[in-house]
């Protein structure tokens, strides 16, 4: 632990293995599962098919909430055949919904594969509904369709859609974009406050009545590596990005905070004073939790877009060797600082041909494979140890205090395989 940063050139210039074939990934609608918990006065109305509703239900895993703040307006034969005016139908469903749920202040009309293919204009619908129900209810549209978005890109599309209508400000300030669990968000705000960085606001906000303002003197940091459109939308509003490795693990968190501290002129002394104790805790926690991972190899299938920053954490802080790092898309502007830190060696792949990638994984025999839910059990049955990736977006993993937990998420499947003893005692 605490090994000095290796003198390898990093992977910034490594060519990508680009593949096109069957992609085994979720669509952007899946992001609704966590976004609706984060935005507590928002309702996500998917305009789509029974498949969309079934996906949300299956991806949510368990149906914890009796009446969740998301639903699907299921298109029927009459909507498609032009027998019914889909816009009028939508108005009717929204009216029913809002009269039943007066607590809703933000309504997201979420486009799906079918609504995109039939070119149902949800932007027009959002404008119309906004003027009908505003200002009490703000109606915004974005697409979570699987022909345009992959898994976490749904969050990106959602956040990006809210940015054009944010109020303007000339104030010098920091905006942090990316949905985080409340406990982690509070830890982050605590660290920034201790550093004397402020004012700070966070996207998305829990409630509509506390909007974030943005303008030319705004700088922003991202906590999630999949916020490509959000990045672009903030830049269009005149804000400036602070590129940094993502705040996973001790090293990532420190680098992320340091980029902000540097921008806000925080002294090195102050920085060390604030971060020394949590850094030390994080290092110790990672050292303990990552023991089963040391000198083990890892293969990451494309899933959540977190793969590159996580590979950086796993290779540099947990002592693993990355064999392949797959991502649905690679946005070098955003994950570049993480790529720079990854020691040379792994294959970086973008996109997917799942059968070919499975062949590579089988040939490489990694000690741990990170993959989606559809692949995990079949690979376990073939004798490969897996970590299902969706847990990484449903679990608090950012910043110092979660660094040990993050290592633990990867270590648990390895430990499990170790402890199960089913043979007769010799």
């Amino acid at each position: 632990m605490n090994a000095p940063i290796p003198n390898t050139p990093g992977c910034r210039d490594v060519p990508l293995l680009k593949e096109r074939g069957q992609r085994e990934v979720f669509c952007g609608l899946t992001a609704i599962v966590w976004l609706h918990r984060k935005m507590q006065d928002a309702f996500f109305l998917v305009v789509g098919s029974r498949t969309c509703a079934h996906l949300l239900q299956s991806a949510a895993g368990v149906m914890i909430f009796a009446e969740p703040r998301f639903g699907t307006a299921i298109l029927e034969e009459t909507d498609l055949a032009g027998m019914a005016d889909a816009q009028a139908e939508l108005d009717r469903e929204v009216e029913k919904l809002l009269s039943r749920r007066p607590d809703i202040k933000r309504l997201f009309l979420v486009g799906s594969c079918p609504s995109e293919v039939i070119k149902l204009d949800l932007e027009k619908a959002a404008e119309r509904l906004s003027s009908a129900y505003g200002p009490a209810v703000n109606v915004v549209n974005f697409s979570g369709s699987g022909i345009e978005t992959t898994f976490t890109e749904g969050e990106d599309a959602c956040l990006a859609a809210t940015i054009p209508s944010l109020p303007s400000t000339e104030a010098r300030q920091l905006v942090v974009a990316g949905a985080l669990p409340d406990v982690v968000e509070d830890q982050m705000l605590g660290l920034l406050e201790a550093l004397g960085v402020g004012p700070v606001s966070v996207l998305p906000t829990a409630r509509a009545d506390q909007p974030v303002a943005v303008g030319p003197n705004t700088v922003f940091a991202l906590t999630q590596p999949f916020l490509n459109e959000t990045h672009a939308a903030l830049v269009r509003r005149g804000a400036r990005h602070l590129p940094a490795p993502f705040p996973f693990g001790e090293e990532g968190t420190t680098a992320w905070l340091r980029a902000i501290a540097h921008e806000f002129g925080v002294s090195e002394e102050r920085f060390n004073e604030v971060t020394a104790a949590p850094r030390d805790r994080a290092r110790r926690a990672v050292a303990q939790a990552s023991a089963p991972l040391r000198e083990k190899s890892i293969f990451l299938f494309p899933d959540s877009q977190l793969e590159i920053p996580l590979a950086r954490f796993l290779t540099r802080e947990c002592g693993m060797t990355a064999l392949e790092i797959g991502q649905p898309y690679v946005h070098r502007d955003i994950v570049g600082p993480d790529i720079d830190l990854i020691p040379e060696g792994p294959v970086f792949s973008e996109g997917q041909d799942v059968d070919l990638q499975l062949d590579r994984a089988r040939a490489a025999r990694p000690d741990l494979t990170v993959c989606g839910l559809g692949l995990a059990n079949p690979l376990e049955a073939e004798g490969l140890t897996t970590k299902w990736a969706i847990e990484l977006v449903f679990t608090p993993i950012h910043f110092y205090e979660q660094a040990g937990d993050l290592a633990g998420l990867f270590a648990r499947p390895m430990r499990r395989r170790e402890i199960l003893q089913l043979e007769a005692e010799a």
Partner: protein, 519 residues
């Protein structure tokens, strides 16, 4: 357009996947965008399957739409054939691909693949998962099965079990044993574990056993017509139904119905005195039509419950369920809207729900025990142990499963006696379940969520004609009624008062009503 929160059934192509995944040597090429690959996890996670479903998705993207999605389909189809070397291929479209009208069936047929290619037309915007499974299996049978010489010994096919079915795996084992005892061998079980080659041999059987009409009826009707194979109409879930089923098999085959009852425990368990407390328990049933119909009979005739309501989510069975409800003197609920089901359960305030995964959630919210009798189900309903629903062991399993969520007999009496005891009270819950008891002092809000509604201040509402108000003493007395009958006591008392034009309910009214309704 209709707003849906949770769905009982997936889209029809998921039904097709249930057939493809159940079978061996069959591959499904599905024209679909990438998001539709979520369906794999239904099988690998919920059912814990150890291999990927044999499905190739074309996973077209927005940029492909203007270009050549048709070619993408052909490539995917060719690759899938070369990689999996299946005995037969089914091809179709998911909801999005249906809109772009590429005609996967037509394209695949022109590709000259050396195996049968079976096109599927599954209207995604009209029909649902069960239809998809039924239609897919029917198309496979129609394409591959031919009349042929019967087996020498009397054999049948078991038709209907699929992947992701409720206890289909164990039902096959139980049913096979039951038939063997009677002298009938199983020729082919399908789709579960059958290969396309097995499907070509369906015609050898003397008759078909239709295990689940939801997923096998269209095929059975076709085989009756084209292969001259009669099929059984009774689904052998429950003791009475199992006996009826064997009689039906006897009528078809000329064999004498035989049943080895040494393993059968439900009748004695039901008759034994400990089960007295089950008498007249008010149950509500919801699920697929087949399982609900079977469960209703068991509930009333074999457990001694009182069926207070029933319904199904698959409208294919609506007529049968409506007729059944009439027979039981209740109103049928045919809906796929989870909120309608919740509202009906809330209104009926049953003491137990026999339902699906969804009703388990409803029950949890309303504080009503629930046992699962039908798909859709979650991972815990694919148990490691042998636990069929059909036949003799099925009846035993059902007895255990249904009794388990309830508070046990003597425990229930003790709760009656000491209902305000500081430790032994309604909200302590059943002693054999987990979860920490809420002491009455800690429970601020309506305890246990047990009463259908928190005690109401009804004085405001009394202005409405026909409304009755509860006097404070009566309200307090009502709260002493154990939670599992409190809703019923409230409704009965209110009905009693309204009938007699009484506008204020006193303690006396409560006990007058109790005497009136006493059985």
């Amino acid at each position: 357009m209709k707003l849906s929160v949770w769905t009982y059934e997936g889209p029809p192509h998921v039904g097709a996947m249930r057939v493809a995944t159940a079978m061996k040597g069959l591959h499904y090429v599905l024209h679909a965008p990438q998001g539709d690959t979520y369906a794999d996890l239904l099988f690998t996670m919920i059912e814990r399957r150890d291999r990927r479903p044999p499905v190739t998705y074309t996973t077209f993207q927005a940029r492909d739409l203007g270009a050549d999605t048709a070619n993408l389909f052909k490539t995917a189809c060719q690759d899938a054939y070369e990689r999996s070397q299946p005995e037969a291929i089914i091809v179709g479209a998911s909801c999005t691909a249906e809109l772009i009208q590429d005609d996967p069936g037509g394209m695949a047929e022109t590709m000259g693949l050396p195996v049968p290619v079976i096109p599927l037309e599954l209207p995604s915007y009209q029909r649902k998962e069960n239809f998809g499974a039924d239609e897919t299996f029917f198309q496979i049978v129609r394409a591959l099965a031919r009349p042929m010489e019967r087996t020498e010994r009397i054999t049948c096919n078991l038709i209907g079990p699929t992947a992701l079915g409720f206890r289909h795996r164990d039902d096959i084992t139980e049913l096979t044993g039951l038939l063997i005892e009677m002298g009938v061998e199983v020729n082919v079980t399908a789709p579960f574990d059958a290969t396309p080659t097995d499907i070509t041999r369906l015609g050898r059987a003397h008759f078909n056993v239709l295990m689940y009409p939801e997923t096998g009826e269209a095929a059975c009707r076709w085989m009756e017509r084209e292969l001259d194979q009669p099929f059984t109409k009774t689904v052998p879930i429950g003791v009475g139904a199992t006996r009826d089923f064997l009689r039906e098999v006897g009528e078809i085959t000329g064999l004498t119905p035989k049943i080895d009852e040494t393993r059968l425990r439900l009748p004695w368990y039901s008759a034994s005195v400990d089960s007295t407390y089950l008498t007249g328990k008010r149950v509500f049933l919801f699920g697929d039509g087949t399982h609900v119909a079977a469960a209703a009979r068991i509930a009333r005739d074999e457990m001694g419950f009182d069926v207070v309501g029933l319904g199904c989510y698959n409208r294919e069975q609506a007529r049968m369920i409506r007729a059944l409800a009439k027979d039981y003197g209740v109103e049928a609920l045919v809906t796929d809207d989870y909120l309608d089901v919740e509202a009906r359960i809330e209104a009926l305030a049953p003491e137990m729900i026999l339902g699906t995964q969804m009703e388990r959630h409803i029950g949890k919210r309303l504080g009503i025990p629930c046992a699962v009798i039908s798909a859709p189900v979650h991972v815990q309903d694919f148990p490691a142990r042998y636990s069929p629903q059909v036949g003799i062991e099925g009846a035993n399993v059902i007895f255990d499963t249904w009794v388990h969520p309830l508070v046990m007999g003597l425990e229930e009496h003790l709760l009656h006696m000491f209902r305000e005891d500081f430790e032994f009270h309604d909200d302590a819950g059943a002693s054999h379940h987990g979860g920490k008891a809420v002491s009455p002092a800690d429970a601020g809000d309506p305890p246990g969520g047990a009463a259908p509604r928190p005690p109401r201040d009804t004085s405001e509402q009394a202005k409405d004609a026909g409304q009755v108000i509860w006097l404070a003493d009566a309200e307090k007395e009502l709260r002493r009624v154990p939670f599992f009958v409190r809703g019923k006591a409230r409704r009965n008392t209110e009905a009693f008062a309204t009938e007699r034009g009484v506008t204020e309910i006193s303690v006396d009214t409560l006990y007058e009503a109790k005497a009136h309704f006493a059985r």
